[in-house]
């Protein structure tokens, strides 16, 4: 608990309107999308890096924990105040500081919502591609901290690939600039990319310089349905093997397909076993050619349906099948554990088969969909936790899924991060030496362990 003197000091930093200790606010900043709850002792909404710096300096003197938070839409509890302390919300810092159309860069504050940034640059004919599913409400600061991905990553890369420079308040309160405005830059350690994906454990990002691209002239969406998962997987490697890099290659397995069809009756052919949603973008003539090529290439692979959208409305209609997966999953069971393993893309059929065996072993349903183009599969373990023993079963199955991904040279998380939920499993993927090196970085930057403590690693 924080005493009243401390609250007074914090109030002096952020102003009385921007600190709260009411029980209502503590309840409302206790959760993210992980479905666990830890109540903080206070919530602060600083306005700038100076205020963030003063808060962190105070935390080092008084030894209380600070938990940075954007929209609170994470899936692994990365922003949750596990041990009490204060939640530091970045959403008041939500300005676009500049969009530089000559150098194709933009500088923003961390609380800006991803989609609002995209819309602003698109008005100028520019493009910020990273598109996490939460882009309508997640913040760019959160995207950087979690190194968010999305369907378009196969062609354009993840958030990290667009971050050129940062302003970061270090855990000790010092404000530093990392990287910069140049595409090249090799002076010193790459602190920028160290911060990307550090889950708010190494610093609070207060400004971000992003790289932008020209907005693609056109895009084309194709909905393709195959009579086997192998056909769909073969399609992925065939397309890429033929030097076509689509913008997205989203896939749904049979269980996901059945779920959507049962609930929404989209008219999917009964022999369909897997869906690939393919999108290409770029020069209008080029993508016409690419779409035709793709059709030719995948025809022999057990293709049962091939639909091409002729306009934006039709494209939206084709995307529906992908969007409707999540809402229809609850028809199977009320509780969902959503993991996001990655395997090399040629290994997608292997991981699907491995997951099938894990389902049988534990007697539970698992639905798979996701970003086939980069091998990032959303594995949804569907259980009913009101049945005794189910929760434990789900956790055992998840552990097996992680192991299967690692056995195929994959990773246990492509997008969601470690946070609290994956911390107990991290030793399956990282060696003791790696963990020691990472903890040494943490200790060097945060000697008093006040910034987002208890995350990422198994802590004693």
């Amino acid at each position: 608990m924080l005493d009243s003197k401390l609250i007074e000091k914090l109030t002096r930093i952020v102003g009385p309107e921007n600190i709260t200790t009411s029980r209502q606010d503590m309840i409302c900043y206790a959760y993210d999308a992980t479905q666990v709850e830890f109540l903080p002792d206070a919530v602060v909404h600083p306005a700038n890096s100076q205020e963030v710096s003063e808060i962190l300096m105070l935390a080092n003197i008084e030894h209380f924990a600070v938990f940075p938070r954007g929209a609170g839409s994470g899936f692994t509890g990365g922003s949750l105040p596990k041990s009490g302390g204060i939640v530091l919300v970045t959403t008041r810092m939500d300005r676009i500081l500049r969009i530089d159309t000559e150098n194709l860069i933009a500088e923003v504050e961390p609380g800006l919502v991803t989609e609002q940034f995209q819309q602003a640059v698109e008005k100028l004919g520019l493009f910020y591609p990273p598109d996490p599913a939460s882009l309508k409400f997640s913040t760019l600061g959160g995207n950087v901290a979690e190194n968010a991905g999305g369907p378009r990553c196969i062609k354009y890369g993840v958030t990290r690939d667009f971050v050129m420079g940062l302003e970061v308040v270090l855990p000790t309160g010092e404000i530093i600039r990392t990287g910069g405005e140049t595409y090249k830059g090799v002076v010193g350690y790459d602190m920028t990319h160290l911060m990307c994906g550090s889950e708010g454990t190494l610093g609070v990002v207060t400004k971000i310089i992003f790289k932008l691209l020209p907005y693609p002239e056109a895009k084309k969406t194709m909905l393709t349905i195959f009579d086997s998962i192998d056909g769909a997987a073969k399609a992925v490697s065939t397309i890429i093997g033929n030097k076509i890099i689509p913008t997205t290659l989203e896939f749904l397995d049979y269980a996901a397909l059945q779920c959507v069809e049962r609930r929404f009756k989209l008219g999917i052919p009964p022999e369909g076993r897997a869906v690939l949603l393919i999108e290409v973008d770029g020069d209008r003539e080029l993508i016409e050619k690419q779409a035709a090529n793709i059709h030719e290439l995948i025809k022999p692979l057990g293709l049962v349906q091939f639909r091409v959208a002729q306009n934006a409305a039709e494209s939206d209609e084709l995307w529906r099948v992908r969007r409707l997966v999540s809402p229809s999953l609850k028809d199977i069971n009320p509780n969902k554990y959503n993991e996001d393993i990655v395997v090399p893309r040629s290994k997608v059929p292997d991981i699907i088969r491995a997951i099938e065996k894990i389902q049988q072993k534990h007697g539970i349903t698992i639905v798979n969909f996701g970003h086939a183009g980069d091998g990032n599969i959303h594995v949804n373990v569907m259980v009913d936790n009101s049945i005794p023993g189910m929760e434990e079963k789900a956790h055992l199955a998840i552990k097996d899924v992680f192991q299967a991904a690692l056995d195929l040279n994959g990773t246990m998380s492509g997008e969601h991060g470690v946070g609290l939920s994956k911390a107990p499993f991290i030793e399956m993927e990282l060696s003791p030496q790696q963990i020691r090196a990472m903890k040494a970085i943490k200790a060097a930057l945060d000697p008093n362990n006040i910034l987002n403590p208890g995350k990422m690693f198994p802590w004693p």
């Binding site: 606010d25 309840i27 409302c28 959760y31 999308a33 709850e37 839409s73 809402p327 609850k330």
Partner: protein, 428 residues
Amino acid sequence: MKNNIQDPLKRIEEELKKCVKCGACRANCPAFNVFGRETAVARGKVALVQHLIKDDLELDQDTYMAMSKCLLCGSCADKCPNDVPTDEIVIAAREALAMKRGTTTFHGALGLVMKNRMLMKLGAALGYVLAPLYYKKVPATSGLRLRFPVPFIGNKRHIPMLAKKPFIDRHPEVIQGEPGKPRIVFFVGCMTNFAYTEIGEAALALFRHLGCTVIIPKGQQCCGVPVISGGDINAVQELAVKNLEAIEKYESDYVVTACGSCGGALHQLYPSVIGKRNPDLKQRLDVLAAKTIDASQLLLKLGLKPAETGAGEKVRVTYHDSCHLRTSGVAKQPRELLRNTPGVEFVEMEGADRCCGMGGTFNVYHYDASMAINDPKSRAIIATAAQVVATGCPGCILQISDGLKQHGSSVKVMHTLELLARQLAAGK
């Protein structure tokens, strides 16, 4: 049990479990957009109600304020990936909170909280003097009284003039049309009946033009939306039953509304909130819901061809989506009608689907926030250089007029039906 408010909350306990706190509601909530705090957004309210049920949250001023920060626009529920009916949850919470305070309505309870702060600011004394005059002709059960509650008259809010004679009193109960043409019941709604009677006249002209028999039951009451937003479910139930009786008295093909909120009540809130509590009413309410249709939807369906005006300049018109119309699937229809009207040059505004900030009684208790929500709306309308902004809900008309006035704009705010009727008259 400390809070002793469990009954309404039990009703929605199962619904609460659907919420996974993903945060999608943050993208669609006009209140959150202005307040910027989790207590204002749907998942925050879900969390608070969960703690009320767990009985470890006090019903103090902060809980009331959090629950008051909702416009019941339904946008969060509409876009929720998990189908959480947040509007029902807020209604149940308000009902529970009102019970706790020992008043019949959440607004009453909230009034206790707000009164001291608001009264002086809003020049209440003047309001008390004027109120009896203002509401002389409006029944005590009308939601209109909640939209401009007595202590708040004298607020900077611009209030519409009340009509000399309410719309329903001006017309016979049944206006015979051509044989073989649809028989429609016109559910007028309080705003149209007492203040914006021209909307009612427009609807009447348009449906008579199409040969419909128009029935305007004298027994119809307030739909109950402002009352339901106050959590007084019993009062809403009484209104619903009276409306059922008035409408069922006549054989009809459609029940037509010209107000997004009235339509939402008949179409969605009656079956979901009242029907769930009263299985014996459910079937009748379901029939009513199935028959209920927005005027623009029906005009299009019946093939209204707005007449050629021939002469005169075109009017530049933009359209604002009422939340309750948009979330019930009425968005394309009014636009199509306007686009098909020869005297209209239609132009889209930016963010046409964004809330105007009215929110039933929200604007009464959070006037400044309500105008902050409205601000981008006014700017977007002005940016289109339209002469008229059309919309399908009298509540929006009131709010948008207020916003435009404060921006010093002369853009006229009209109901879509008024525009259509005017073009029709010009063509004759």
